[in-house]
Amino acid sequence: VEHTHSCNGTPGSSADANQRRLLCSATLRKLEADTSAQALRRLLSVYRTELHKRSATIADAHDRQDNERLQICVHALKSSALSFGCEALAEKCLQVEDFCLHALHARAFDHCEALLLLIQKTLDAVDAFESAGA
């Protein structure tokens, strides 16, 4: 997967690095520069809604052990995560998608809980970014 705006390599503490991997503010600032502050707010609002929807879908796919649904969901989630510089979430999605693609269903479902936790942390990071911006 090509990724042109990596937040890795930026100096700072380990906690900072983890935070940057949750949501890269440099990527968001680039998006804002490419569009507008208003457009970024709209995008983050859509993304927040998507994260909630995907979260529900992953939980449902896990409960039903629906591998195909899980695969479709993490595939889409991976792309949007990369668009906002959510590297940690994108990596986890890629990992789960890879398990799905190779029919390693049990391993894929084993990661669902961690995936849901990461989605929640990403949502928190989005909220924090918006609060800081406001």
């Binding site: 090509e2 990724h3 042109t4 680039k30 709209r42 809604t49 990369l82 668009s83």
Partner: protein
């Protein structure tokens, strides 16, 4: 006494109609305006508003100016559009226009009197009014109409709302974007409405991007629509698979704005190039069959012509006619845009060849235009056609006569002097029962050139729109003439270099140069 269209000094005024005052004349004005606006891609809602302004203004003249005998409507070139000029020889209504009250749409109590003028004030608030008295014979009411640029229609399909929103935000400044999260709905939309470019995700539930592409490829109307895959699937096997589907590009998410815009521009440009090449090839074949060749030299003049073919529409034709009295060239521009206009123009070209061949040969180009106008006026099909026309007659002794029916002014280029417009004008053919056309005679001195052209040369380009046929533009052209032995091909090359984007209307240049 036939009504003559006005010739407004210093302005390239194209008279669309001049008629005796009556409510029937108001209806004709409205219809003419609508046809003109339709031919310039003005949105339908704006057409209706502007036609209403014209109706209201002239109705006011008919009902409240008992002294008025004539009304006239025309347009003058404006950068990116036209100025509509409504003329009448009735009362000065400056006080009424100055007293226009804004329409309050929240109230049910609309004014009974003066509602028409209030509508005018609401629909064209930047109008200008110049009373005829005491300086001129005619009152002039003017308003500007800026033409909307054609924006390419991009359809985006992705089941991920975030990606859809992102792509829409990236592209919507430059393109008309329609988004779908469901490929089946997108397919139905494309079959119905068409598209200039499709951008689709691959991996989607229900119908995926690959099946969507196959469905589009199976349909003659949609097979050649440019197609880009925008996918989060980085697997080589998937990329190889989509490469067999005849798509124009495959982009991997996340895609940055510049990357997406650049890909879209490149693919659309390529598609336009291919389309234009096919059109040029087709048009060349038809043109070769319909346009008789222009002699390279005649009566001491060097003659040349060149043209650019619009992607989808417009229609220019040049008919040279030879007789004992000399040679007449008739340059016509059938108004309209789109595929239908082009095919209609081709059909008309054949018709006009036959028509002109049947006219008695004349040394007076005004008579050709008069016959043309009378024929169009009395012909059910042609009376619905809007075209401009300029006729030039060259005698064996080298005298040049010109007459124009609503056509852009020709320009005269003289060595070492500023170019000047040849202010010859006349009403559009077919608009009046007994139109007559003023003829301008001249003899060109050695080195002088006369440039005839259709308005596509100035108005049909995308981003880098060339300013109208102004003195500034012509002076720039004259500088090019001064350094080179320039023919119509040279004129076209200059304009090709000045403009960017799609050609939206046929453009023709004819250069008559005294040797």
């Amino acid at each position: 006494m036939p009504l003559m269209p006005s010739n407004l000094p210093g302005r390239n005024f194209l008279s669309l109609a001049v008629l005796p005052v009556s409510l029937a004349a108001v209806r004709v004005m409205r219809e003419r305006a609508l046809r003109f606006l339709q031919s310039r891609w003005v949105p339908a809602a704006q057409q209706d508003d502007l036609a209403l302004v014209i109706s209201e203004y002239f109705t006011n003249v008919v009902k409240h100016s008992p002294g008025a005998t004539h009304i006239e409507m025309g347009v003058s070139t404006l950068r990116g559009g036209v100025t509509f000029i409504l003329r009448d020889n009735g009362s000065d209504i400056s006080p009424l226009l100055a007293a226009i009250k804004p329409l309050d749409t929240d109230t049910d109590d609309l004014p009974v009197s003066g509602l028409g003028l209030s509508l005018i004030g609401a629909l064209v608030p930047d109008f200008r009014y110049t009373p005829g008295w005491p300086v001129a014979q005619y009152n002039e009411f003017e308003f500007d109409v800026v033409f909307t640029q054609h924006r390419s229609r991009v359809v985006i399909i992705d089941d991920d709302d975030t990606q859809l929103c992102l792509a829409e935000i990236f592209l919507s400044d430059e393109y008309s974007v329609t988004c779908f999260s469901d490929a089946r709905r997108a397919l139905a939309h494309i079959f119905l409405e068409g598209a200039d470019l499709i951008i689709s995700d691959i991996y989607m539930p229900d119908m995926d991007g690959i099946l969507l592409r196959k469905r589009l490829a199976a349909n003659d109307d949609t097979r050649l629509i440019p197609f880009i895959f925008l996918t989060g699937c980085g697997q080589a096997s998937t990329r190889e698979k989509v490469c067999t589907l005849s798509v124009d590009d495959v982009l991997v998410k996340p895609v940055e704005k510049d990357t997406l815009l650049s890909a879209v521009a490149r693919v659309l440009h390529r598609a336009r190039d291919v389309s234009a090449s096919i059109n040029v090839s087709l048009d060349q074949n038809i043109t070769d069959a319909l346009w008789r060749p222009l002699p390279e030299r005649y009566a001491g003049y060097r003659l040349s012509r060149d043209y650019r073919v619009a992607e989808r529409g417009g229609g220019d034709l040049l008919v040279p006619l030879h007789s004992d009295t000399g040679m007449t060239m008739i340059l016509m521009d059938v108004m309209g845009h789109g595929v239908q206009a082009k095919f209609f123009a081709h059909a008309l070209a054949g018709y006009f060849h036959g028509l002109f061949a049947g006219f008695p040969h004349e040394a007076d180009p005004g008579r050709y235009l008069q016959w043309l106008s009378e024929t169009m006026n009395s012909h059910a099909l042609l009376s619905g056609t809007l075209l401009t026309c300029v006729a030039v007659h060259i005698t064996p002794a080298g005298r040049v006569s010109l007459a124009s029916a609503g056509h852009p002014w020709p320009w005269l280029f003289r060595p070492g002097a500023a170019p000047i417009p040849v202010e010859v004008s006349g009403v559009l053919p077919g608009l009046g029962v007994s139109a007559t056309y003023r003829v301008v005679d001249m003899t060109l001195a050695p080195g002088e050139r006369l440039l005839l052209f259709t308005d596509g040369l100035f108005e049909s380009h995308g981003k880098g729109r060339v300013q109208g046929d102004s003195a500034e533009t012509m002076t720039s052209l004259a500088r090019q003439f001064a350094t080179r032995d320039m023919t119509a091909e040279g004129v076209m090359a200059v304009f090709d270099a000045m403009v960017q984007g799609a050609v939206l209307d046929d453009a023709t240049a004819v250069v008559i140069q005294r040797e």
